[in-house]
């Protein structure tokens, strides 16, 4: 599902975030991407979501080499990847329902269908009934779950999350990761970037540890 082949990423500032990263995530896997701050976790996720392009090396998503995806095709590509952000990136002037439905509206899904699937996604994250609330009326944990609902509403085969538990207390963090686990159970490939080692220890999942721009260690589930 995700394959990095000797990927280098050097930013315009001169900072080299990735220096020859190679790994492979199979379809249906649940993987933690971990390592200290600045190890390149965010860079890996940005390369997957085509927010950035590799300086060298190749990134394959599905069976597609991302180098072959032109700027015009990026929107279509992004609809196949659900992304969860640490800062949620919700639209604060829209109700929860609109936030969750956004990917469907963008994809041109018929209105009746949108309503149904938006409710189903909210149900999956346990927020059914909060459709009319504004994001800022919700707790941080709830906002994060709205972000997850938005990421899964279009049923993408791949879900990536950047520090999804970063601002949450341990109890809530566990709950969020369990939510990702349940999504994985129904076939979604999940890649979670986090530096929270204690959290990872609760789950018997594969880990890819980044350090200094390389894959420092890998552990099987």
């Amino acid at each position: 599902m995700i394959r990095f082949d000797a990927v280098y990423k050097r930013y315009a500032t001169g900072c080299e975030a990735l220096a020859g990263v190679s790994f492979h995530v199979q379809r249906g896997e649940f993987v933690f991407l971990t390592g200290p701050s600045g190890a390149g976790k965010s860079s890996v996720l940005k390369l997957i979501a085509l927010i950035e392009r590799p300086s060298r090396g190749q990134v394959f998503i599905g069976s597609q080499n991302t180098a072959g995806i032109k700027a015009r095709a990026i929107p279509q590509f992004r609809r196949q990847v659900g992304v969860v952000f640490q800062d949620h990136k919700l639209l604060h002037d829209r109700p929860v329902a609109d936030n969750v439905a956004l990917p469907l509206i963008i994809a041109g899904v018929p209105r009746r269908e949108i309503d149904k699937r938006m409710r189903a996604a909210l149900d999956q994250v346990g927020l059914l009934g909060k459709e009319k609330s504004r994001p800022l009326e919700l707790s941080t944990g709830e906002q994060q779950r709205v972000g997850i609902a938005r990421a899964i509403v279009a049923k993408p085969p791949l879900l990536i999350a950047d520090e999804p538990t970063g601002n949450l207390d341990p109890e809530l963090a566990l709950e969020i990761v369990r939510l990702f686990k349940r999504l994985n159970d129904v076939g979604v490939t999940v890649l979670i970037a986090t530096h929270d080692v204690h959290l990872i220890d609760h789950f018997k999942s594969r880990r890819i540890v980044l350090g200094g721009g390389h894959v420092a260690a890998e552990s099987a589930p």
């Binding site: 979501a49 927010i51 929107p75 590509f77 609809r79 963008i106 018929p110």
Partner: protein, 308 residues
Amino acid sequence: MALNVQAYFMRHAQTLVGSLGRLAREPFASFMTMAVIAIALALPLSLDLILQNALGATSAWHDAFELSVYLERSASSARAEAIAKELQQRNDVAAVRLVTAAQALAEFREYSGFGEALDALTENPLPNTLVVTPSIGASTPERMGALKTAIGAIANVSSVQLDTEWVKRLVALLDLLRSVVRLAGGLLCIGVLLIVGNTIRLEILNRRAEIEVMKLVGATNRFARRPFLWTGTWYGLGGGLLAVGLVELGAATLAGPVARLASLYGSAFRLAGLDWQTAGGAVLAAALLGWLGSWVAATRHIRAINPS
């Protein structure tokens, strides 16, 4: 496919209403933008209104061309009447009025203020004059020229004066005014494009975060651009309606004074407001300008926003 088309129109309808709602949430700022557009458009519109009224007024004068036929001073009043009768027979002449030398002197004495100087004259220096109005069919410059030559050939006619120079000058002046209206209209339309473009640019910068989020979940540039196109169109439409309102208000305010002035000149001229074709065209053009201005700005600036 039918479903896709339906969904497409549905989304357009949603962004249409959504953009209207956004404008309504900031009524003052929206009104200011529309007012600026309205003032920019009201200027060429009112110039055009003045031009149309002037054209209407002068077309009435076109029918009022007259030839002044001066007879030799030796020609008697009886001879003058005979020539008048002769001219009356022509089918390119509508009317002939005889102004005898005595009448002309009396008029001159009354209006010129030279009364006492005229008393010093031993005889009337003015000739008998015929004022000839050509028939409507003969009011073209060519036929009037021919008429002038024909009258000039009659015995005892000293000279024939065709006073069309000032009309030609007026027509040239109106042509100039028409060019000015077009030029001002063109410039101010560019002004409207820039106003709308700049307003939309600022709105896009304000909603940068929102556009980034949309792009992150797969929005195309076209999708992100759509609400701004509607906003621009609303600005143009509102500005156009306001401009027509302003011009009509101005015309209504000036109608009274213009009518008074016209009646002092013995004219039945009345200031006409905008006809509905011009008004409708202006509103439509304004909406189009709003759309175009926002299209240029939104296409440029939305493409430049990328999630990071």
